[in-house]
Symmetry: C2
Amino acid sequence: MAVTIKDVARLANVAPSTVSRVIADSTRISEETKQRVRKAMEQLGYHPNLNARNLASQSTKALGLVMPSSKDVGFQNPFFPMVLQGISEGAQEKNYALHLTTGKSDREILDAVIQMVQGQRVDGVILLNSKVDDRVISYLKERNFPFVLIGKPYKNIEEITHVDNDNLRAMKEVTEYLISYGHQQIGFIGGSLEFMVTIDRLQGYKQALQNASIEIKSEYIVHEQFLREGGQDAVREIMALDQPPTALVVADDFMALGVLNTLDELGIKVPDDLSIVSFNNLLLAEMSKPPLTSVDINIFELGYQASKNLIVLVENKNEPTKRLIISHRLIERLSCSRPKQ
Amino acid sequence: MAVTIKDVARLANVAPSTVSRVIADSTRISEETKQRVRKAMEQLGYHPNLNARNLASQSTKALGLVMPSSKDVGFQNPFFPMVLQGISEGAQEKNYALHLTTGKSDREILDAVIQMVQGQRVDGVILLNSKVDDRVISYLKERNFPFVLIGKPYKNIEEITHVDNDNLRAMKEVTEYLISYGHQQIGFIGGSLEFMVTIDRLQGYKQALQNASIEIKSEYIVHEQFLREGGQDAVREIMALDQPPTALVVADDFMALGVLNTLDELGIKVPDDLSIVSFNNLLLAEMSKPPLTSVDINIFELGYQASKNLIVLVENKNEPTKRLIISHRLIERLSCSRPKQ
DNA sequence: TTGTAAGCGTTATCAG
DNA sequence: CTGATAACGCTTACAA
């Protein structure tokens, strides 16, 4: 039906193998026949059948992407499209295609990954959401199949190539920033502790307080969902304390938006009564009222480096595992000030 | 290297073709051998090589998804992850895989699509962003390759299967809703007129005004980018008029957020001084201040129906083209009230 | 009900 | 520099 390599060969008066070599731009083909073959390809509108090619060459030039479960709320966070953008760019540059995988349960996701990997649809896999004791990771490691993780692995850190921010340091800096403003009562509103990012940031928060000899109060530490009213409950809880904090670090701009609303309802002014720093620096951050001081964690770059390095991993069999740390940057806006007396 | 159909055949003491039939669950195989073969597959951890299978069967059980250009700002709108979620679900249900495609320019995108289609990596394609005179559409139509468009085609409406909202009616209803509140001066802040959705909504807006014998003022109609400060410029412009509107319809929640901010800066209170209705009903809508009355256009369903119907198209050669209209619903929150005297 | 064998469209190995 | 020819792993007539 479709035009094949044989049709091209016939028209150009060469063997199919020669056409194949022209496609691969082999050096061992005379410039003259190359021209002739290329013209024939053009003329016939030839495009190689990728399935045949993959089958013969035992490789696919495609990367698999494991998305967060579609039931996951986190899916609505703009984090996902941004990281995808980065991944996509890194792949495109090396002419790799992207293959998507989801599932409603962990089991479904694992099955989809297995199919994709064993079915040889992809040469490598990018993981977005590492959970504690992730079965997908165990599976890939076991088979020694190339993959990179965006975020920090729960175990075997040294054996898993991953790209992450230095979340500990980022949060430490943020906390120090607030301390330097004169804040002593600083609250922490983070996501679930089953995410490494939360663990790291919590630790950064604690370290900063300790270094400044500020007491760590457990009432100041709240873990909530990243999204939605999560922030609202958290902030009510924490502001109802006898001695409420004068500053807050929040895990995510989206959540910070909820925080801002609740504060408004409670009649608490930002930054006059309460300072806030959040993370991610989404468009949201500059559109909220007041605009949020937020840590830009370079989401695009996270994705870009992930695919870029996965390709390296795929193409060089003995590439060592790596840990890639993407830089972050505090973007100062209007949600912080000195505490009131 | 990997375990193949032959290994299974050998272990189960049957011919490879028999194994193939077992995989396809052919009725012409005895239950007994089915058991035996399945056991062998299990034992060896067999998974079919999808490239070989695709090559032999000339079909892929995969759908291609053309994403908005990664340079596109629209990419940051939560619309994308939501529609992807729907698409993914529809595909998963029928055991179809998803293949992604992007590019930085229209040319790159077209090339990627051609590669994907002619390379026979997918059986059908879902398009997200139809532009005027879309070359991807022309290409697919020309080749008679199955595809569905999310949104409304610019031309050949009857010949292109697409899933869309009734944007004209939705906007008409919204405008009538505001009129019923007593508003006579109603502004329109929409996206670029190169999007069909804008054209449809603008028309709905005009129809509602006409039906109510309200004059259509061109100064009340502003077209801006969907995102970012777009809203802010637009609202400044429109509120600076001698007789500013008492109500606004806005194309998108995200944009409405920008509008809210600017209004706040201008000292204009919502809904007391100005009523607002927006579209999409993102999480944002309930988190903004005040919470936005917004039209839920069922983004998930848009995606879900797209992949579901694309699969029908792919599997039934002579399926007629369809137009699928997804329902919408006005979600009333706190951004509307009667106009002041 | 099962086996044989001919593709599917490439790439890769050997000759020449 | 180029051409045969054998894989690659599976599906699918056609036989049996």
